[in-house]
Each structure stands twice: as structure tokens, then as C-alpha cells.
């Protein structure tokens, strides 16, 4: 009960003051979050998240209410997207079944409370890893499955090639995201002015841009290409090269259950390592015979890596075989051959000039 109330307090802050104000109340909230953590950790009698998930027989995963490439229902109503696959990989690791997961669509406002209150086991919802969120909400970010950043889509007519030339521009934004804040930070830092035109949904934002209500549309870069393709004349618009913010997106878990935190963190790491080691869903079975010790540990033919996490030793094999390595997950959902058509860019492996780097399975 006490724990519930504390959590209530934390999220009430979050709801009532918004994230910006929350920085001011950070110290209080931090203390409370710590207390929450302690309570959760000391709740030894309470079952762990892993036990709960196993007992339920499925993983409950929070996703967006529909964001192309990240999580969106397809025509059959099946969830698809890179955030969705991140959840499926965890299910595959626990149950050896990538479909043992149920999705809870969450709005941006609901996402953290849903996790705090235990409604979901993990959150994989296009969520930017920031200090405030990590430290004061009783949450832990378990890694990054997509390095995003905020960018601009402009009308070619205004003849601009760089964001620094945008002084005085009218800019269409979607309300309630980190996007709004980044934009004003950027313009203030550069000593420029802008006229914000705020819309409620991304659909309306595009329509506003399309109708000429603004010269510029700003959003996370991962979405800009998709938004551009929605325009009646996509060739009349272009994406500027500037990235004005860092938006590392990744899965989130409740603070206080280290085992669960490790599971989610290492399932993602296994996918990234698998790509680095050339293990794919297609060759995962053949690779079981590999004599590369790194691959053997990854797939569980050698060592007891799984047991250390409370998982079956072959969890890596199941993850890669059933969901694929990171590259496959990327290409399938957001890569160049998808409607989003995003190049790997900084999301390429560190060995390929990107920053996608996972600690070793050892």
C-alpha cells in the first residue's frame, strides 16, 4: 500500500507538472523514487517480474498506439515494428516463443504510469532515454534499439539548405513530445526566432504542413521520411541534414528488479552481438556447430550464460532464430527496403562506422 502511494506521488508530479517542471522537483522525486526502489527490492515476498511473467505465460509489453516502423498494427491486426520486435525477442528468450507477448497500446502520457503500476512488464515505446526519466521516475532504461535525433522537413520553395537559415520560420510540431522542448532549446541557443504551430496528432501535423500552414515540419528523423511520403507531392519537400537533438530510444523496465533489467538489457545485446558475429535467423541452427567460442556462448552451446540471467541457456539461439539479429530487425521494420526507407546511419554496428555497440556475452 505504501509503495502504491509513493508511486502515486511520483506519477502525480509527472502528470501535473509535466516533465519540464519536474526537473525542479527532481530532488524530492529522486528521493521518493529511491524509496520506491527500496520498497520494490525489499519486497522479497513479492514474486519477481520474471516469475510473474512465467506464471502469466506471456510478456505484457507497452507500445505506441501506432507509429510506422516502431509499433503499428498491420492489416491483420498483428503488431509490427522494431519496438515490437524488441518485445518479441524478450518473449523468445523466456518462453522460446516469440508470440508469447501481448501488447498494450499506450499514449505518451500513460506510458510511464503503466510501467510503474505493473500494468505492463516492459515499455518499448519510442521512448527517449533522458536523465530525468531514468533517475526520477522509478524506471531504468535497458539499452538503445534506435539512435534517433530530431530533424526538419522543409518546403523546397523556401530555398533553405541548413537549419541555421530557419530564423523566423513557422514550424509545425506535434504536441506533448520532447520535440517541442528541443526545438525551442535549439533556436534559443542559436539566437533565432520561430513561430510554433502545434498539432495534436502526427497526421494533423502533416496536413498542416501540406496545406502550407508552416514552412517547416519538425519531428524525430525516423519519422520524417514517412511523413514526407504522406505529402501530396513528396518531391516538393526535403529533409535537412541537421540533427538538433539526441533521441536514443530504447526499452524501459521498472526500477528495483535487477534480474529483469538484466534480461531485457542482454536480450538486446545478444541481438547486436549476433549481427556482429554474423549469426542470423536463417543460419542460427547451422551456427550451433560453430567452433567460434563467442558464437558458442551466444547460442548457449557452451557455458551457462542463460542460467546467470535466470533464463534457459539456449536463450540466445531462440532470440536470433525467432526474431533475428539487430540488423535483421532493423531492415525488416525501418530499413531501406521498407516504406520508411531509413539508412543504417549511426545505427550501423561500430565495426561499420556506426555507434551500435554491445558489451560482449562472456
Amino acid at each position: 500500500m505504501a509503495r502504491k502511494l509513493l508511486k502515486a506521488y511520483v506519477s502525480k508530479n509527472q502528470l501535473m507538472f509535466g516533465e519540464k517542471t519536474m526537473r525542479k522537483t527532481k530532488s524530492i522525486a529522486l528521493g521518493i523514487a529511491l524509496a520506491v526502489g527500496t520498497f520494490t527490492a525489499s519486497g522479497a515476498m513479492a514474486a519477481t517480474t520474471l516469475e510473474n511473467v512465467k506464471e502469466k505465460g506471456h510478456l505484457q509489453c507497452g507500445v505506441t498506439t501506432g507509429l510506422p516502423g516502431f509499433s503499428q498494427p498491420d492489416e491483420k491486426g498483428n503488431w509490427t515494428g522494431i519496438d515490437v520486435d524488441t518485445c518479441r525477442a524478450v518473449a523468445a528468450a523466456i518462453f522460446g516463443d516469440a508470440s508469447a507477448v501481448e501488447f498494450t497500446p499506450l499514449t505518451a502520457k500513460e506510458r510511464f504510469t503503466a510501467l510503474q503500476s505493473g500494468e505492463i512488464d516492459m515499455l518499448s515505446r519510442n521512448t527517449t532515454w533522458t536523465l530525468t526519466r531514468d533517475a526520477s521516475l522509478g524506471l531504468n532504461f535497458a539499452g538503445v534499439n534506435y539512435y534517433d535525433g530530431q530533424g526538419f522537413l522543409i518546403n523546397k520553395d523556401i530555398g533553405v539548405d541548413d537549419a541555421l537559415q530557419l530564423d523566423g520560420a513557422s514550424i509545425c510540431i506535434q504536441a506533448g513530445t520532447t520535440t517541442e522542448l528541443n526545438l525551442s532549446d535549439y533556436f534559443r541557443a542559436k539566437g533565432m526566432e520561430f513561430k510554433p504551430i502545434v498539432f495534436d496528432t502526427s497526421e494533423q501535423t502533416v496536413q498542416g504542413f501540406s496545406a502550407g500552414r508552416c514552412d517547416v515540419l519538425t519531428s524525430d528523423r525516423s519519422q520524417l521520411a514517412a511523413l514526407r511520403s504522406k505529402l501530396s507531392d513528396p518531391s516538393a519537400a526535403k529533409i535537412l541534414p541537421n540533427t538538433i537533438s539526441k533521441e536514443p530510444l530504447g526499452p524501459v523496465v521498472r526500477q528495483g528488479d535487477d534480474q529483469w533489467f538484466n534480461i531485457v538489457k542482454w536480450v538486446l545485446s545478444v541481438q547486436i552481438n549476433a549481427e556482429e558475429l554474423g549469426v542470423t535467423s536463417a543460419n542460427a541452427d547451422d551456427m550451433l556447430k560453430s567452433d567460434n567460442p563467442n558464437i558458442q556462448r551466444l547460442l548457449g552451446t557452451d557455458g551457462d550464460m542463460g542460467a546467470k540471467l535466470g533464463l534457459p541457456d539456449d536463450f540466445g539461439h531462440k532470440v536470433v532464430k525467432l526474431v533475428g539479429n539487430y540488423g535483421e530487425m532493423y531492415d525488416r521494420n525501418v530499413g531501406p527496403d521498407t516504406p520508411l526507407g531509413l539508412d543504417r546511419g549511426i545505427n550501423a554496428l561500430w565495426t561499420d562506422g556506426g555507434i551500435m555497440y554491445a558489451p560482449p556475452v562472456r
Partner: protein
């Protein structure tokens, strides 16, 4: 008698005369007629072209939407999702069965003289929800469980609206009676309840139900989000309903209360047999109005991540594989809502006519 064979004189007009009388009676009426006619001719044609003649109905994927008109292919491909949400395919017969029962119970209400339609209507308001209570979630009678998180689309819209409507009526009646009660505590509580809920927008109620409530519930008590939303919608709607019904109660002349008292009916029978039947009949238009607005207000659940029919459409129109299908999506949703809201409104008109005993007190 002689009068009985006499008929009122008929007022038959030839089309030309009719037009002259109704459309071109004065120069400004004529102008108006021409202007409206011009608008109709210029807008109806393109609209029909877009909706039907140049629309695309068949094909496999987005590339088959080549015509200039609407891309209904997008809707037809996702129809299953828009109607059932994430409800598993092989269990959708359960939802179909409920749709069928709903039709059996309510379609006859539009057919004058359909045998036993009154009983079908009563079944629709009692048996039907009970069957649905067991059939849709499963878990009993060997039915496989389908969690409420998997319900969605039109089915969810109907569940929300139907339960909201059905439950808010009796609660609203009790609140209205409470507000007119002579017992100060009951009256006070009713007034507070009604005024508090009525003063809050539904969107806030839903948000509280989805975000705040779970945190204040004792550990271990975990309501599903849908249940919380339903309770919120029902209580909010009851407050409105109570005020509509109170209007009806106030319009009943005092003599009716006194006559019922003098017959020794006692409070509940007085209300149930004499006052409420008249009061409710009197406020049918108001009740139906709140029903219709509730039906439409259920779309607000999409802000708490429940996928009603609008939610399912909204979550998929952003699919980058399809170009600009948002209009088709919203037209489809509008059509769904129009069908049901128009149905409710027609039904209420039928009901009003049927209950009309000709004369007021």
C-alpha cells in the same frame, strides 16, 4: 352518418405548380433555389465520383489504388481489424454471434407489427448483455479466455456505448430520484455526485481512470483498463442522465403524485408505476440525445490507448505503405457512427410514437 363518408379535400399539385409554389415563390427564393441547386450539382458529382465511380475496391496492396477516387481497398483489407481489433480470428464467431443477437433484438424494433418485438427488445436489454458477459471474455463454459486488451474496433465501440447506455439509465434514475428525495442526506449525496461528475469533462474522467486510479487501488486489486474506463464512462453518463430525468420528474404535475399516494401505492410503486413511466416518456428526446452523444464520446477512449473503431483506423492510416488514406479512414468511421446514431434516433422516434397515448395530463 353523413359526415363519416366525407373526406378532407385533397391538395394535389402538378410538379410545375409544386415547384412554383415551393421553390420559386418569390425572386429571392428563386435565387436561393438556383444557388443551392448549383452547389448541389457541382459538389454531388465529384463526391460520388470519389466515393464510388472512380474509387478502388479491388486489388492486393497500395499499388492497386490507381483510380482518382477513394482507396477503399485500404479499408476492406483492414476491415477485420477495424471491426474486431485484436480479437483472435478463430474466436471471432463469438463476436459475430453477439452482432447477430444485437440485430435480432433491435432490427425488428423498426418493423411495425413484428411479432414479439417487445420481448426481443427486452431480451436486448437483459439477456443480451448477460450472454455477452460470458461469451466475449470467455473463461467459462469451456470458452477460451480473450483478455480485454485484445478487444477493439467497432466491437469495442459498441461494448463501451452499450454498457454505458444500459448502466447509466438505472443509475441516472436513482440519482434523479435521490436529488428530489425528502431525505437530506440522500439528496445531498445525489447533488454532490451529479454536480461533481457533470463538472468534469469525459476526457479527464478517462484519463483519471486510466492513469490515476491504478495507483490508488490497494495492492493486488488490478482492474483492467477497459473496466476502469467503463466505470468512468458509466458514472459520468449517469450524472447527465440524472439531470435529464429530473427534468421529466419535475414536469409531472403534483396531482399525479397525490393520486398515487392516495391509492396507497407507496414510494417505489408510485415512482415505478406512475411517475417514471410518464417522466421517462416525456424526456425520451433528451435521453436519446445523451445516448447519441455518449456513443460518439466513446471515441475519446483512444486517448487512453484503447482501440475503438476510431483508434484502430487512426493507428493504421499512418502506415507509410499507403498514400493519404486518412480521408478514407475517417469517412469509414463517420459512416459507422452515422449508421448507429441514426438507428438510435429512429428507434427513439418509433418509441415516442408508440408510447404516445394522445393526450397530456
Amino acid at each position: 352518418m353523413a359526415e363519416s363518408t366525407m373526406k378532407p379535400p385533397k391538395k394535389a399539385l402538378s410538379p410545375v405548380k409544386w415547384m412554383r409554389e415551393h421553390l420559386f415563390s418569390t425572386w429571392y427564393n428563386a435565387l436561393l433555389t438556383l444557388a443551392v441547386g448549383y452547389l448541389l450539382v457541382t459538389s454531388v458529382g465529384p463526391l460520388l465520383n470519389w466515393l464510388l465511380f472512380e474509387a478502388n475496391f479491388q486489388g492486393q496492396d497500395a499499388s492497386d489504388c490507381t483510380g482518382a477516387g477513394a482507396c477503399w481497398l485500404f479499408i476492406s483489407q483492414r476491415l477485420n481489424f477495424f471491426i474486431y481489433g485484436f480479437y483472435p480470428d478463430e474466436l471471432q464467431w463469438r463476436v459475430d454471434a453477439m452482432f447477430l443477437l444485437l440485430a435480432i433484438a433491435f432490427v425488428p424494433q423498426f418493423i411495425e407489427r413484428f411479432p414479439g418485438r417487445k420481448w426481443l427488445g427486452i431480451f436486448g436489454m437483459t439477456g443480451l448483455p448477460i450472454i455477452g458477459y460470458f461469451l466475449i471474455p470467455g473463461g467459462t463454459f469451456g470458452l477460451e479466455v480473450v483478455e480485454s486488451t485484445k478487444w477493439g474496433g467497432l466491437m469495442l465501440t459498441l461494448i463501451l456505448a452499450y454498457i454505458g447506455i444500459l448502466a447509466s439509465l438505472p443509475i441516472g434514475i436513482l440519482l434523479a430520484l435521490g436529488r428530489r428525495s425528502e431525505m437530506p442526506i440522500i439528496r445531498g449525496l445525489s447533488v454532490v455526485f451529479i454536480e461533481v461528475w457533470r463538472a468534469v469533462p469525459l476526457i479527464t474522467v478517462l484519463f483519471m481512470a486510466s492513469v490515476m486510479l491504478p495507483l490508488f487501488l490497494p495492492e493486488g486489486v488490478n482492474f483492467e483498463k477497459l473496466a476502469r474506463a467503463l466505470i468512468g464512462i458509466t458514472l459520468w453518463q449517469s450524472a447527465y442522465m440524472a439531470e435529464v430525468i429530473r427534468g421529466g420528474l419535475q414536469a409531472i404535475p403534483r396531482g399525479q403524485y397525490e393520486a398515487a399516494d392516495a391509492l396507497g401505492l407507496g414510494y417505489w410503486r408510485k415512482m415505478g408505476l406512475v411517475i417514471l413511466p410518464q417522466a421517462l416518456k416525456m424526456v425520451i428526446p433528451g435521453i436519446v440525445n445523451t445516448f447519441i452523444s455518449l456513443f460518439k464520446d466513446t471515441t475519446l477512449v483512444l486517448i487512453i490507448g484503447l482501440f475503438d473503431v476510431l483508434g484502430t483506423v487512426q493507428s493504421t492510416v499512418t502506415d507509410p505503405a499507403w498514400q493519404n488514406v486518412a480521408i478514407e479512414g475517417y469517412v469509414f468511421v463517420a459512416f459507422c457512427f452515422w449508421v448507429f446514431c441514426f438507428g438510435i434516433s429512429r428507434y427513439s422516434q418509433n418509441l415516442e410514437r408508440k408510447l404516445d397515448t394522445g393526450h397530456k395530463t
